[in-house]
Every structure is written in structure tokens, then in C-alpha cells.
């Protein structure tokens, strides 16, 4: 699993999915390398879940080529499934079995499962091992989902909004678990609404909006250099707010100070976070414009983050 490979773990070319006249995914191209952690970002209804479910084999595509671990998921058999782990969006199962019973059962389905006690410890449920799943909190049930997804020692792990309902400590613990899976060479496809989670875990990210992959790249490059340009903001004597995008914020501040002849009010130098960049990409896709953020749009962004 750790050997260098030239073929991609996930390869998508020209993927298209139409539901009764509505195009959910359109001409999507994607490569995920073996051992890579890839975050797929996008608002609800953008085509993210449809894409992931096609890769998982749950949905059939309208057209395009898809290969997951070298197999077309629409024809993936049991051998293929034994190499893949899935943490689906949460479900409403009856939960009449205990955590240990569930894990022992799922482990029995895989040819080379992990030790169930180690998995239970890895998701931090040792104290709840003998508790029925229905009696756990929402966040704890989510950890059971994660445990069931990794017990089969998958080569490729799908994580669909895995940390929904986690408290901050549980999320940190979960990130540690994902890093250890990554260190073992597991390829991971993560969808999440938490941009900090993507920044923490992913090597690369792709942003889906309106059924298309609007950008893809390393976490610190996505959106392009332009989107990362810092903004200098200050208020003048009349109380009007000024914002200037510049690659030389220090020089600009110096010129503002020189012009005012005093300390500017409300001076800020803002470096766009991944979240700002993401929201910019999604908005550009929805308005169809590729224009840079102007002042008012940046204000909208700030409101959206508030």
C-alpha cells in the first residue's frame, strides 16, 4: 500500500450526472493520488454528495469515466468493497447492539481487519464499549460510524462530514486519528463544512459549486495567489472605511500614515483565510463572474463569517 505508484487512487474524467433534466454534476475531472488526503468542499446542493456517492458505488453516473482503486465503482464487487472504508452521513439505525458487538461483526466481514479494541480506543470509546449504540450521544454515535469505517483496514477511506456533532476536543482527537491513518498510507477523501478541518488534514482540496469543480489545488494555493492578496483597511477622518488589496501591505500602511500624518483609525491588515477564499470561489461560481472581490463583496464575506 505504501509503495510508490503512478496510477491514481481515484480518477474521474468528464463525470456528468443528470436527475430528470437537472444536471447535478457536470464535466467533473479529478485525480487523487495514493496516500493523499483530499478535501472536497462545496455548499449543500453543489453536487458534492452526488459525486462522492458515485465514487462509492451508490449512484450510477450519466456519463464520464470513473476509476476507484482501478475499478469502475458501478461494477465494484466484494473484493473492491473490502479495500474501501466508508463513513456515510449519519443514519437512523436502531442501535440495539453494543459498540463492541457492532465492531466485532463488521470486522468479521473483512479479510484483514484491525484489532477491535484498538479501534475502539482510537475513537475514544473505551468507556462505552459495552453500551448499546442507541444509548450514546450523537457525537459518540458518529465516532462509532468512524470506527466501523476504518475497522476493515481500508486502502481508501471516504469520510462524509465525519465530525458533525463532535465537541472541539473530540474533533482534535479525530484529527489525530486521521493523521495516523494517513501515516499508514491510507488514501482519504474528506467532505466537510469545516474549512479549518480541511486545512488541518488535507494535502489538496477541490471546491465544487454548481456541479462543477471550480478550483482544485494544494490547501495553501487554492483560489490562486490573487485570492490570497492581503487587504489593508482603515477609516479616514470622515469615518469612511477604505479597503485596498495589495501584495505590499506594509508599504501601503506606511503611505497611508504618511498621507494622514497620524495613526489611521481602525487599521487592519487582513490575510484571507481558507474560508474567505472558499466563499469567494463559491460566490463567483454562483454569479458566474470571475471578478475579483470588490469592497462591498468583501464586506459581505465578513458578514457571512460573523
Amino acid at each position: 500500500m505504501n509503495t510508490t505508484r503512478t496510477d491514481a487512487a481515484v480518477r474521474v474524467r468528464g463525470l456528468r450526472k443528470v436527475y430528470g433534466g437537472v444536471t447535478a454534476v457536470d464535466d467533473l475531472h479529478l485525480d487523487i493520488a495514493h496516500g493523499e488526503t483530499f478535501a472536497l468542499l462545496g455548499p449543500n446542493g453543489a453536487g458534492k454528495s452526488t459525486t462522492v456517492e458515485i465514487l462509492e458505488g451508490y449512484r450510477l453516473r450519466t456519463s464520464g469515466e470513473v476509476s476507484v482503486l482501478g475499478i469502475d465503482p458501478a461494477r465494484g464487487g466484494l473484493d473492491w468493497k473490502s479495500r474501501i472504508g466508508m463513513v456515510l452521513q449519519s443514519t437512523g439505525e436502531t442501535g440495539l447492539l453494543t459498540v463492541t458487538e457492532m465492531l466485532r461483526h463488521f470486522a468479521s466481514l473483512y479479510p484483514n481487519p484491525r484489532d477491535i479494541d484498538e479501534v475502539i480506543a482510537a475513537v475514544g470509546l473505551e468507556a462505552k464499549a459495552k453500551t448499546r449504540v442507541a444509548k450514546l450521544s450523537g457525537g459518540q454515535q458518529r465516532r462509532v460510524d468512524v470506527a466501523l469505517g476504518i475497522v476493515g483496514r481500508p486502502e481508501l477511506l471516504f469520510l462524509d462530514e465525519p465530525t458533525t456533532g463532535f465537541d472541539p476536543e473530540a474533533r482534535r482527537q479525530f484529527w489525530g486519528l486521521i493523521r495516523s491513518l494517513k501515516a499508514e498510507g491510507t488514501t482519504i477523501l474528506l467532505t466537510t463544512h469545516y474549512l479549518d478541518e480541511a486545512a488541518q488534514l488535507a494535502d489538496r482540496a477541490g471546491v465544487i459549486a454548481g456541479g462543477r469543480l471550480v478550483d482544485v489545488g494544494a490547501i495553501d494555493e487554492i483560489g490562486g495567489a490573487e485570492a490570497r492578496t492581503p487587504v489593508v483597511r482603515w477609516r479616514d477622518a470622515a469615518g469612511t472605511t477604505h479597503e485596498v488589496r495589495t501584495v505590499e501591505p506594509g508599504m501601503h500602511v506606511a503611505s497611508v500614515v504618511a498621507a494622514l500624518g497620524r495613526e489611521p483609525d481602525g487599521l487592519e491588515v487582513i490575510r484571507p483565510t481558507l474560508e474567505d477564499i472558499y466563499l469567494g470561489l463559491v460566490r463567483d461560481a454562483s454569479t458566474g463572474s470571475a471578478s475579483e472581490l470588490d469592497d462591498t463583496e468583501l464586506d459581505d464575506t465578513e458578514e457571512a463569517l460573523a
Binding site: 468493497k81 443514519t91 436502531t94 466481514l109 473483512y110 466501523l148 476493515g152
Partner: protein
Amino acid sequence: MTTSLMTQGTSRIGVETKTYFRAADTLFFTFLFPFVMLAIFSAAFSAAGEVGPPGAEVSMGALYLPAMLAAGIFLSGVQNLAIDIAMEKSNGTLKRLGGTPLSPVGYFAGKIGQVFVTGTLQAGLLILAGWLVLGIELPTDPAKWVTFAWVFVLGLTTCALLGIALSALPRSGKSAAAVVIPVGLILQFISGVYLQWNMLPDWLQNFASLFPLKWIAQGMRSVFLPEGWESLEQNGSWNLPGVAIALGIWLVVGFVLSRITFRWIRRDA
């Protein structure tokens, strides 16, 4: 490479049976229901004394024991699985299992295994309760017990497959119980389970003969009712070959339908 079907099936039977006994509603409506009905019928009609053809009279409890055994087979197979699988389909259980290397055959082995474990326990306890509590005389002729064994196994297998096939019908898990339980009740009323078979009019008997439950009930009566009762059956005979043929046909129908209709999830086209 995946784990063997044997490993998967055994593991499935274990979790299926545990889940069955931990779900209060199935425990009552499937497992205990025939016991409750047997108790009610033998108490309610106790004033009627013994019934039946001259020389072959039996107590109401003895009359209802084979009927409740047939009801148990029907409930454990058809009602239990039709509701259970429809629920698993709508609550995400099947979707998750569909993402694992569990083979559909392993999944069904688990369901049918669960039906056999619980159905056998249910039948055994019903017979024991009839014998110990109601003082019903049990057959001593080994040939009767051979008939019991094949009617039970054939009936339970057929009902399990029909339950799997029927689980494809309800659109949601919640509607499953509302659809399956009333239909099951009607079938039990017209098949000689709750109402004495020979009291039903000919046309209703003929209609009920289209469905498997009537034949299971008839097979069970042939085991537990004394000689003389066959005169109250259609054509005055137990017609065991007819029981075997009818259940055999429904077995094939159930097998084919469950193979055609089963999906891990409602996958769009």
C-alpha cells in the same frame, strides 16, 4: 479476497438474533403474539367444552395449538422480515452494509437463520406450553412428528422468502408495519388460524387456498388433531401432498421475487 460466506453468515445470524430479542416490538408482535392468542382463545372459549366430530372431540386449547403454530411460522417469516428489512432499508442499515464486503447471500443467510432460530424456539415453547399448561395431548406416532418437521421447515423457509420479497413494497420503514400487519391479520382470519376452518364458507376456503398460510395451518392440524378431524377439511382429507405442492410453489415464487426485488439501497436509474 473476502471472508467466507460461512463466517459472514454465522456472524450475521448472531447479530440478527440479538437484535430480534432486543427489539421490544418484534418480541411482542412476532414472538409472543401466538402465546397471547393461544391463552386468550383457550380461556375465552373454555365454556364451549370439547369440540369436534363425534369420537374425536378436543379442548379449545388443543384446537388452537396447531393454528397458533401456523401463525407463529407466518409471523416469524413474513411479518417479521417484511417489516424488518423495510426498516433497515429506510434507516440506513442496508446502505452501510452495502458498502462492506458482505455478500447479499450472507445477509439473507443471517435473516433466514434468525427466522429459524426464533421460529424454532417459538414453536418449541408453544408446544411445551400447550402440553404443560393446557394439558394438551401430543401425538405419539413418529410419522406425525416427521410431518410436523417438514411442514415446519418448508413453511418457515417459504414464509421467510416471501417476507424478503414483500419488504420491497413499503415506501418507508414507518409504513411497513401499517401495511404488513393488517394484511397479515386478514390472511390469518381467512386461513383457519383464528376462525375454525370448517366454519368458513366454500368460496372463502377456495380463496384462502391461493395463499400459503392455509396450507401450513392444514399441515399442522394433521399433526395435532386426532383421527376423524380430516372429515372437516376440504374433500375430507388432510391432503398432505397438496400442502407440499402449494408450499413448494410459493417457495419458488418467494425465491424468485426476493432475488429480483432486493437492492441494498433505492438506487436511482
